[in-house]
């Protein structure tokens, strides 16, 4: 399986993602934002970081870069696209996924492990993962997910809420919500569920020597669905 990771000025999780994808068997290429075409890929990843120094709004400048038209075209044809953290913010700014990411409710940059409950119905990202609760890592200032009531309703009806923050027992509550996101939303799909945007970083937790190994389940599951 071939993947491409797009590098923007200010991306800083691009190489972690490269390591993770290769570890689980992807043939990965790094693609510069100024290129016009993505190489032949089965998966495109917009990595985390601080593209363009978070100027204007997080992800807003990157969403207008040269490579983005090619990413949008790939996504509209049904190609798998993942945006992690700043990559999620870029997806939001391109309009490929619904909603907005506001400043964290308590104005703190949050860098810690959290737990999420994944939606396993009708998607290639989480469907066959055996664990119900995943321990992943977050590191962001603007991850407070927001969308209109109408959008929330249609996303709920269409199973587009991908992951929600919970505690280690799987309880989804205000207490387990790190950043004020509505409905504890940590990640969403587009309508066809080929695009996933999420704040947590699976690529940071892919080995037992790290603080968690649950990111491995994510990549293994994704790859098993692509073969």
């Amino acid at each position: 399986m071939k993947s491409s990771v797009i590098i923007f000025p200010g991306s800083n999780c691009d190489r972690d993602m490269d390591v993770a994808l290769k570890k689980f068997g992807f043939k990965n290429k790094m693609v510069w934002h100024n290129d016009n075409v993505i190489p032949k890929s089965d998966l495109v990843v917009l990595p985390g970081g601080f593209s363009y120094g978070d100027y204007l709004r997080c992800g807003s400048i990157a969403a207008k870069s040269n490579i983005i038209n090619s990413v949008i075209e790939f996504a509209n044809k049904g190609g798998l696209v993942i945006g992690i953290c700043n990559g999620f913010q870029i997806l939001i700014e391109t309009g490929l996924v619904t909603g907005a990411l506001l400043r964290n409710k308590y104005l703190k940059f949050i860098c810690k492990n959290i737990f999420v409950k994944a939606n396993k119905t009708h998607n290639k990202y989480f469907n066959k993962i055996k664990k119900d609760i995943l321990e992943l890592h977050i590191a962001h200032n603007d991850g407070n997910y927001f969308c209109s009531k109408d959008d929330l309703k249609s996303m709920q009806d269409n199973d587009q809420i991908a992951i929600r923050y919970c505690d280690s027992n799987g309880e989804i509550s205000e207490k387990s919500n790190p950043n004020g996101s509505i409905q504890n939303i940590a990640g969403v799909f587009n309508e066809k569920k080929n695009i996933l945007g999420m704040m947590p970083h699976p690529e940071r937790v892919i080995d037992n020597c790290l603080s968690s190994n649950d990111g491995s389940y994510f990549f293994e599951n994704l790859l098993s669905n692509m073969k």
Binding site: R57, A100, L102, L107, N144, F146, C147, S148
Partner: protein, 77 residues
């Protein structure tokens, strides 16, 4: 010609920065302050000569880049 634009969070959208500013003002004894909403201000220098054309152009910029209409409103001054 210079066109000025203000972008503000929409009503009902949480504005944690505005809230922190309000609380700080209250703690500084500006006890009359019940709400602060923080926005952005842009000055756009354009080569267009006609004000109507220029404002129309800036409106397009607001929709495409300067504001995120999911969470923000814009006002061309």
């Amino acid at each position: 010609m210079k066109i000025k634009v203000i972008v503000t969070p929409k009503n009902g959208v949480l504005d944690p920065q505005g809230k922190a500013i309000q609380q700080t003002l209250n703690s500084m004894n500006f006890i009359d302050v019940s709400e602060v909403r923080q926005g952005k201000y842009f000055e756009i220098e354009t080569d267009l000569k006609d004000e109507k054309d220029a404002k129309k152009n800036v409106e397009d910029m607001c929709k495409k880049l300067l504001a995120n209409l999911v969470i923000e409103d814009y006002k061309i001054l």
